[in-house]
Symmetry: C2
Protein backbone atom coordinates (compact mmCIF):
# COMPACT_ATOMS: atom_id res chain seq x y z
CA UNK A 1 0.00 0.00 0.00
CA UNK A 2 2.29 2.76 -1.13
CA UNK A 3 -0.44 5.09 -2.42
CA UNK A 4 1.35 7.33 -4.85
CA UNK A 5 -0.71 10.18 -6.25
CA UNK A 6 -1.91 9.75 -9.80
CA UNK A 7 0.18 12.75 -10.82
CA UNK A 8 3.30 11.11 -9.45
CA UNK A 9 2.55 7.80 -11.17
CA UNK A 10 2.19 9.45 -14.56
CA UNK A 11 5.65 10.99 -14.16
CA UNK A 12 7.48 7.83 -13.20
CA UNK A 13 7.73 6.56 -16.80
CA UNK A 14 9.25 9.88 -17.82
CA UNK A 15 11.86 9.77 -15.11
CA UNK A 16 12.53 6.17 -16.05
CA UNK A 17 13.10 7.03 -19.68
CA UNK A 18 15.79 9.52 -18.71
CA UNK A 19 17.39 7.07 -16.30
CA UNK A 20 17.60 4.42 -19.00
CA UNK A 21 19.55 6.78 -21.25
CA UNK A 22 21.64 8.40 -18.53
CA UNK A 23 25.36 7.62 -18.85
CA UNK A 24 26.39 9.20 -15.53
CA UNK A 25 26.26 7.48 -12.16
CA UNK A 26 24.19 10.22 -10.60
CA UNK A 27 21.35 12.40 -11.75
CA UNK A 28 19.96 15.60 -10.26
CA UNK A 29 16.35 16.43 -9.47
CA UNK A 30 16.65 19.21 -12.01
CA UNK A 31 17.53 16.79 -14.80
CA UNK A 32 14.71 14.47 -13.80
CA UNK A 33 12.31 17.40 -13.67
CA UNK A 34 13.31 18.42 -17.20
CA UNK A 35 12.40 14.97 -18.48
CA UNK A 36 8.95 15.20 -16.92
CA UNK A 37 8.18 18.86 -17.54
CA UNK A 38 7.91 19.85 -13.89
CA UNK A 39 10.02 21.73 -11.35
CA UNK A 40 12.94 20.20 -9.48
CA UNK A 41 11.01 20.47 -6.22
CA UNK A 42 8.23 18.42 -7.74
CA UNK A 43 10.63 15.70 -8.87
CA UNK A 44 12.23 15.53 -5.42
CA UNK A 45 8.83 15.22 -3.83
CA UNK A 46 7.90 12.41 -6.22
CA UNK A 47 10.99 10.44 -5.27
CA UNK A 48 10.41 11.12 -1.59
CA UNK A 49 6.96 9.59 -2.06
CA UNK A 50 8.70 6.43 -3.26
CA UNK A 51 10.78 6.45 -0.11
CA UNK A 52 13.84 6.87 -2.31
CA UNK A 53 16.59 9.04 -0.89
CA UNK A 54 19.18 11.02 -2.76
CA UNK A 55 22.54 12.31 -1.59
CA UNK A 56 22.72 15.97 -0.69
CA UNK A 57 25.18 17.86 -2.82
CA UNK A 58 25.40 14.92 -5.25
CA UNK A 59 22.05 13.78 -6.59
CA UNK A 60 20.36 10.40 -7.04
CA UNK A 61 22.14 7.15 -7.92
CA UNK A 62 21.08 6.41 -11.49
CA UNK A 63 20.85 2.64 -11.52
CA UNK A 64 19.36 2.34 -8.06
CA UNK A 65 16.67 4.85 -8.85
CA UNK A 66 16.00 3.17 -12.19
CA UNK A 67 15.50 -0.19 -10.49
CA UNK A 68 13.38 1.35 -7.77
CA UNK A 69 11.01 2.95 -10.29
CA UNK A 70 10.80 -0.26 -12.31
CA UNK A 71 9.89 -2.12 -9.16
CA UNK A 72 7.27 0.45 -8.24
CA UNK A 73 5.72 0.24 -11.69
CA UNK A 74 5.70 -3.54 -11.58
CA UNK A 75 7.95 -3.95 -14.59
CA UNK A 76 10.98 -5.64 -13.02
CA UNK A 77 10.17 -8.57 -15.25
CA UNK A 78 8.72 -8.38 -18.74
CA UNK A 79 4.96 -8.05 -19.03
CA UNK A 80 2.84 -9.90 -21.57
CA UNK A 81 0.29 -7.91 -23.53
CA UNK A 82 -2.59 -9.10 -25.65
CA UNK A 83 -3.94 -6.97 -28.49
CA UNK A 84 -7.62 -7.33 -29.30
CA UNK A 85 -8.45 -6.31 -32.84
CA UNK A 86 -6.16 -6.83 -35.83
CA UNK A 87 -7.38 -3.95 -37.95
CA UNK A 88 -5.16 -1.07 -39.01
CA UNK A 89 -4.37 0.09 -35.52
CA UNK A 90 -4.04 -3.31 -33.84
CA UNK A 91 -1.72 -4.44 -36.61
CA UNK A 92 0.39 -1.31 -36.32
CA UNK A 93 0.69 -1.75 -32.58
CA UNK A 94 1.64 -5.41 -32.98
CA UNK A 95 4.44 -4.40 -35.33
CA UNK A 96 5.66 -1.60 -33.09
CA UNK A 97 9.04 -2.66 -31.73
CA UNK A 98 9.22 0.13 -29.17
CA UNK A 99 7.05 -1.87 -26.79
CA UNK A 100 9.57 -4.67 -26.53
CA UNK A 101 12.36 -2.22 -25.80
CA UNK A 102 10.46 -0.98 -22.80
CA UNK A 103 9.63 -4.34 -21.30
CA UNK A 104 6.36 -5.31 -22.92
CA UNK A 105 5.98 -8.41 -25.08
CA UNK A 106 3.02 -8.63 -27.40
CA UNK A 107 2.14 -12.24 -26.68
CA UNK A 108 -0.94 -12.56 -28.82
CA UNK A 109 -3.37 -10.72 -31.09
CA UNK A 110 -7.03 -11.54 -31.73
CA UNK A 111 -9.61 -10.82 -34.37
CA UNK A 112 -12.99 -12.21 -35.40
CA UNK A 113 -12.87 -11.92 -39.18
CA UNK A 114 -12.45 -15.32 -40.86
CA UNK A 115 -10.14 -13.85 -43.47
CA UNK A 116 -7.92 -12.34 -40.80
CA UNK A 117 -7.66 -15.18 -38.29
CA UNK A 118 -4.64 -17.33 -39.06
CA UNK A 119 -2.77 -14.58 -40.88
CA UNK A 120 0.65 -13.62 -39.60
CA UNK A 121 1.89 -10.32 -38.25
CA UNK A 122 5.63 -10.57 -37.74
CA UNK A 123 6.14 -13.48 -35.34
CA UNK A 124 2.49 -13.62 -34.34
CA UNK A 125 -0.40 -15.54 -35.82
CA UNK A 126 -3.78 -13.88 -35.43
CA UNK A 127 -5.99 -15.96 -33.17
CA UNK A 128 -9.76 -16.01 -32.98
CA UNK A 129 -11.38 -13.90 -30.30
CA UNK A 130 -13.06 -17.05 -29.01
CA UNK A 131 -9.66 -18.19 -27.72
CA UNK A 132 -9.13 -15.04 -25.68
CA UNK A 133 -10.77 -16.10 -22.43
CA UNK A 134 -8.92 -19.40 -22.25
CA UNK A 135 -5.61 -17.72 -23.12
CA UNK A 136 -6.12 -15.11 -20.43
CA UNK A 137 -6.92 -17.74 -17.83
CA UNK A 138 -3.83 -19.68 -18.92
CA UNK A 139 -1.72 -16.59 -18.30
CA UNK A 140 -0.75 -15.98 -21.91
CA UNK A 141 -1.14 -12.27 -21.15
CA UNK A 142 -2.61 -10.09 -18.43
CA UNK A 143 -2.62 -6.61 -19.92
CA UNK A 144 -4.90 -5.92 -22.88
CA UNK A 145 -4.87 -3.33 -25.64
CA UNK A 146 -8.35 -2.72 -27.02
CA UNK A 147 -8.15 -1.89 -30.72
CA UNK A 148 -11.66 -2.85 -31.80
CA UNK A 149 -14.47 -0.73 -33.28
CA UNK A 150 -16.49 1.42 -30.88
CA UNK A 151 -19.48 -0.88 -31.24
CA UNK A 152 -17.78 -3.93 -29.78
CA UNK A 153 -15.49 -2.28 -27.22
CA UNK A 154 -17.74 -2.72 -24.19
CA UNK A 155 -18.54 -6.33 -25.00
CA UNK A 156 -14.88 -7.23 -25.41
CA UNK A 157 -13.97 -5.34 -22.25
CA UNK A 158 -16.61 -7.28 -20.32
CA UNK A 159 -15.13 -10.55 -21.56
CA UNK A 160 -11.64 -9.43 -20.57
CA UNK A 161 -12.79 -8.44 -17.11
CA UNK A 162 -14.73 -11.66 -16.68
CA UNK A 163 -11.61 -13.67 -17.50
CA UNK A 164 -9.52 -11.72 -15.00
CA UNK A 165 -7.52 -9.21 -17.02
CA UNK A 166 -5.39 -6.88 -14.89
CA UNK A 167 -5.57 -3.75 -17.00
CA UNK A 168 -6.84 -2.39 -20.29
CA UNK A 169 -5.52 0.27 -22.62
CA UNK A 170 -8.52 1.38 -24.66
CA UNK A 171 -7.97 2.80 -28.14
CA UNK A 172 -11.62 2.44 -29.12
CA UNK A 173 -13.29 5.83 -29.60
CA UNK A 174 -15.86 5.23 -26.89
CA UNK A 175 -15.98 5.17 -23.14
CA UNK A 176 -15.91 1.71 -21.67
CA UNK A 177 -16.80 0.98 -18.08
CA UNK A 178 -15.02 -1.63 -16.00
CA UNK A 179 -15.05 -2.45 -12.30
CA UNK A 180 -12.74 -0.38 -10.12
CA UNK A 181 -10.57 -3.46 -9.61
CA UNK A 182 -9.45 -3.28 -13.25
CA UNK A 183 -7.18 -0.45 -14.34
CA UNK A 184 -8.11 1.26 -17.57
CA UNK A 185 -6.82 4.16 -19.58
CA UNK A 186 -8.16 5.52 -22.83
CA UNK A 187 -6.36 7.03 -25.77
CA UNK A 188 -8.78 8.81 -28.08
CA UNK A 189 -7.20 10.28 -31.17
CA UNK A 190 -10.13 12.51 -32.10
CA UNK A 191 -10.37 13.89 -28.59
CA UNK A 192 -6.68 14.71 -28.64
CA UNK A 193 -7.03 16.58 -31.92
CA UNK A 194 -10.06 18.46 -30.65
CA UNK A 195 -8.18 19.54 -27.55
CA UNK A 196 -5.29 20.67 -29.73
CA UNK A 197 -7.69 22.54 -31.95
CA UNK A 198 -8.76 24.65 -28.99
CA UNK A 199 -5.22 25.77 -28.35
CA UNK A 200 -4.02 25.97 -31.91
Amino acid sequence: MSGLSTATVTRLPRYLRLLEEMPRETVSSEELAGAAGVTAANARRDLAALGFQGIRGVGYLTTELRDRIRKELGIETRRRVGIVGAGNLGTALARYTGLSKRGFDVAVIYDVHPGRVGQRIGDLTIRHLDDMTADLEKGVFDMAILAVPAGSAQKVADALVEAGVASILNFAPTRVSVPKSVAMRQVDLSNELQILSYYG
Copy 2:
Protein backbone atom coordinates in the same frame (compact mmCIF):
# COMPACT_ATOMS: atom_id res chain seq x y z
CA MET B 1 -9.62 35.38 -24.58
CA SER B 2 -11.97 32.96 -22.93
CA GLY B 3 -9.36 31.24 -20.78
CA LEU B 4 -10.92 27.88 -20.01
CA SER B 5 -9.00 25.72 -17.56
CA THR B 6 -7.09 22.83 -19.08
CA ALA B 7 -9.30 20.42 -17.15
CA THR B 8 -12.40 21.94 -18.72
CA VAL B 9 -10.92 21.81 -22.23
CA THR B 10 -10.12 18.10 -21.95
CA ARG B 11 -13.75 17.40 -21.06
CA LEU B 12 -15.33 19.34 -23.93
CA PRO B 13 -14.70 16.57 -26.48
CA ARG B 14 -16.41 14.09 -24.15
CA TYR B 15 -19.45 16.27 -23.74
CA LEU B 16 -19.48 16.79 -27.47
CA ARG B 17 -19.43 13.08 -28.18
CA LEU B 18 -22.54 12.61 -26.08
CA LEU B 19 -24.27 15.57 -27.67
CA GLU B 20 -23.60 14.19 -31.14
CA GLU B 21 -25.36 10.95 -30.24
CA MET B 22 -28.13 12.49 -28.14
CA PRO B 23 -31.60 12.03 -29.69
CA ARG B 24 -33.46 14.26 -27.20
CA GLU B 25 -33.75 18.03 -27.44
CA THR B 26 -32.39 18.60 -23.98
CA VAL B 27 -29.67 17.01 -21.89
CA SER B 28 -29.02 17.24 -18.17
CA SER B 29 -25.78 18.08 -16.43
CA GLU B 30 -25.91 14.62 -14.92
CA GLU B 31 -25.92 12.96 -18.34
CA LEU B 32 -23.08 15.17 -19.53
CA ALA B 33 -21.16 14.39 -16.37
CA GLY B 34 -21.57 10.67 -16.97
CA ALA B 35 -19.98 11.03 -20.39
CA ALA B 36 -16.97 12.77 -18.93
CA GLY B 37 -16.57 10.84 -15.71
CA VAL B 38 -17.12 13.77 -13.38
CA THR B 39 -19.91 15.03 -11.13
CA ALA B 40 -22.92 16.97 -12.37
CA ALA B 41 -21.72 20.05 -10.50
CA ASN B 42 -18.46 19.87 -12.39
CA ALA B 43 -20.22 19.64 -15.75
CA ARG B 44 -22.43 22.62 -14.90
CA ARG B 45 -19.40 24.61 -13.91
CA ASP B 46 -17.67 23.73 -17.19
CA LEU B 47 -20.62 25.00 -19.21
CA ALA B 48 -20.84 28.11 -17.09
CA ALA B 49 -17.21 28.75 -17.98
CA LEU B 50 -18.26 28.73 -21.65
CA GLY B 51 -20.90 31.30 -20.81
CA PHE B 52 -23.50 28.77 -21.87
CA GLN B 53 -26.72 28.82 -19.89
CA GLY B 54 -29.13 25.98 -19.29
CA ILE B 55 -32.80 26.09 -18.33
CA ARG B 56 -33.60 25.41 -14.70
CA GLY B 57 -35.80 22.38 -14.29
CA VAL B 58 -35.19 21.36 -17.90
CA GLY B 59 -31.53 21.03 -18.81
CA TYR B 60 -29.38 22.23 -21.71
CA LEU B 61 -30.52 22.50 -25.32
CA THR B 62 -28.70 19.74 -27.16
CA THR B 63 -28.01 21.27 -30.54
CA GLU B 64 -27.20 24.71 -29.20
CA LEU B 65 -24.73 23.32 -26.71
CA ARG B 66 -23.23 21.07 -29.38
CA ASP B 67 -22.66 24.04 -31.68
CA ARG B 68 -21.30 26.14 -28.84
CA ILE B 69 -18.70 23.51 -27.91
CA ARG B 70 -17.72 23.03 -31.53
CA LYS B 71 -17.20 26.74 -31.84
CA GLU B 72 -15.16 26.85 -28.66
CA LEU B 73 -12.94 24.01 -29.86
CA GLY B 74 -12.46 25.65 -33.23
CA ILE B 75 -14.01 22.80 -35.19
CA GLU B 76 -17.05 24.54 -36.70
CA THR B 77 -15.46 23.82 -40.05
CA ARG B 78 -13.41 20.78 -40.93
CA ARG B 79 -9.73 20.85 -40.03
CA ARG B 80 -6.94 19.59 -42.25
CA VAL B 81 -4.34 17.32 -40.70
CA GLY B 82 -0.96 16.23 -42.03
CA ILE B 83 0.65 12.99 -40.92
CA VAL B 84 4.41 12.87 -40.84
CA GLY B 85 5.79 9.35 -41.11
CA ALA B 86 4.21 6.58 -43.16
CA GLY B 87 5.45 3.65 -41.11
CA ASN B 88 3.13 1.23 -39.35
CA LEU B 89 1.53 3.80 -37.12
CA GLY B 90 1.32 6.65 -39.63
CA THR B 91 -0.25 4.35 -42.15
CA ALA B 92 -2.77 3.03 -39.63
CA LEU B 93 -3.72 6.58 -38.66
CA ALA B 94 -4.10 7.58 -42.31
CA ARG B 95 -6.51 4.68 -42.82
CA TYR B 96 -8.48 5.42 -39.68
CA THR B 97 -11.90 6.64 -40.78
CA GLY B 98 -12.95 7.80 -37.31
CA LEU B 99 -11.03 11.04 -37.80
CA SER B 100 -13.18 12.10 -40.70
CA LYS B 101 -16.35 11.40 -38.75
CA ARG B 102 -15.25 13.86 -36.12
CA GLY B 103 -14.29 16.69 -38.42
CA PHE B 104 -10.67 16.04 -39.29
CA ASP B 105 -9.49 15.40 -42.83
CA VAL B 106 -6.14 13.77 -43.36
CA ALA B 107 -4.97 16.00 -46.18
CA VAL B 108 -1.49 14.60 -46.68
CA ILE B 109 1.07 12.10 -45.42
CA TYR B 110 4.86 12.32 -45.70
CA ASP B 111 7.80 9.97 -45.54
CA VAL B 112 11.45 10.03 -46.54
CA HIS B 113 12.04 6.49 -47.75
CA PRO B 114 12.37 6.32 -51.54
CA GLY B 115 10.45 3.04 -51.65
CA ARG B 116 7.58 4.55 -49.69
CA VAL B 117 7.20 7.95 -51.35
CA GLY B 118 4.70 7.76 -54.19
CA GLN B 119 2.86 4.74 -52.76
CA ARG B 120 -0.82 5.08 -52.06
CA ILE B 121 -2.71 4.78 -48.79
CA GLY B 122 -6.41 4.87 -49.56
CA ASP B 123 -7.00 8.15 -51.36
CA LEU B 124 -3.62 9.60 -50.41
CA THR B 125 -0.30 9.40 -52.16
CA ILE B 126 2.70 9.50 -49.84
CA ARG B 127 4.67 12.68 -50.43
CA HIS B 128 8.30 13.37 -49.68
CA LEU B 129 9.10 15.13 -46.43
CA ASP B 130 10.88 17.79 -48.48
CA ASP B 131 7.47 18.99 -49.67
CA MET B 132 6.16 19.49 -46.17
CA THR B 133 7.25 23.06 -45.57
CA ALA B 134 5.83 24.33 -48.84
CA ASP B 135 2.57 22.45 -48.28
CA LEU B 136 2.20 23.87 -44.80
CA GLU B 137 2.81 27.40 -46.05
CA LYS B 138 0.26 26.81 -48.80
CA GLY B 139 -2.31 25.86 -46.18
CA VAL B 140 -2.60 22.19 -47.17
CA PHE B 141 -2.85 21.42 -43.46
CA ASP B 142 -2.21 23.19 -40.17
CA MET B 143 -2.36 20.41 -37.59
CA ALA B 144 0.35 17.75 -37.65
CA ILE B 145 0.52 14.20 -36.36
CA LEU B 146 4.10 13.14 -35.67
CA ALA B 147 4.53 9.44 -36.35
CA VAL B 148 8.27 9.30 -36.96
CA PRO B 149 11.03 7.45 -35.06
CA ALA B 150 12.24 8.99 -31.82
CA GLY B 151 15.50 10.00 -33.45
CA SER B 152 13.96 12.36 -35.97
CA ALA B 153 11.02 13.70 -33.97
CA GLN B 154 12.68 16.90 -32.76
CA LYS B 155 14.07 17.73 -36.18
CA VAL B 156 10.70 17.28 -37.86
CA ALA B 157 8.97 19.25 -35.13
CA ASP B 158 11.41 22.11 -35.64
CA ALA B 159 10.63 22.15 -39.34
CA LEU B 160 6.88 22.14 -38.65
CA VAL B 161 7.21 25.01 -36.22
CA GLU B 162 9.42 26.94 -38.60
CA ALA B 163 6.80 26.64 -41.32
CA GLY B 164 4.04 27.83 -39.00
CA VAL B 165 2.17 24.72 -37.89
CA ALA B 166 -0.62 25.45 -35.38
CA SER B 167 -0.42 22.28 -33.32
CA ILE B 168 1.29 18.91 -33.10
CA LEU B 169 0.12 15.55 -31.83
CA ASN B 170 3.27 13.63 -31.02
CA PHE B 171 3.25 9.82 -31.18
CA ALA B 172 7.03 9.56 -31.16
CA PRO B 173 8.33 7.96 -27.97
CA THR B 174 10.37 10.97 -26.99
CA ARG B 175 9.75 14.40 -25.57
CA VAL B 176 9.85 17.14 -28.15
CA SER B 177 10.10 20.79 -27.28
CA VAL B 178 8.31 23.51 -29.19
CA PRO B 179 7.71 27.20 -28.53
CA LYS B 180 4.80 28.06 -26.27
CA SER B 181 2.97 29.47 -29.28
CA VAL B 182 2.58 25.98 -30.72
CA ALA B 183 0.22 23.55 -29.01
CA MET B 184 1.52 20.05 -28.51
CA ARG B 185 0.28 16.87 -26.90
CA GLN B 186 2.05 13.55 -26.65
CA VAL B 187 0.68 10.04 -26.76
CA ASP B 188 3.26 7.54 -25.56
CA LEU B 189 2.12 3.94 -25.71
CA SER B 190 4.89 2.57 -23.50
CA ASN B 191 4.26 5.19 -20.86
CA GLU B 192 0.58 4.35 -20.84
CA LEU B 193 1.31 0.68 -20.34
CA GLN B 194 3.78 1.43 -17.57
CA ILE B 195 1.21 3.55 -15.78
CA LEU B 196 -1.34 0.76 -16.13
CA SER B 197 1.20 -1.71 -14.83
CA TYR B 198 1.40 0.24 -11.59
CA TYR B 199 -2.33 -0.08 -11.01
CA GLY B 200 -2.82 -3.56 -12.39
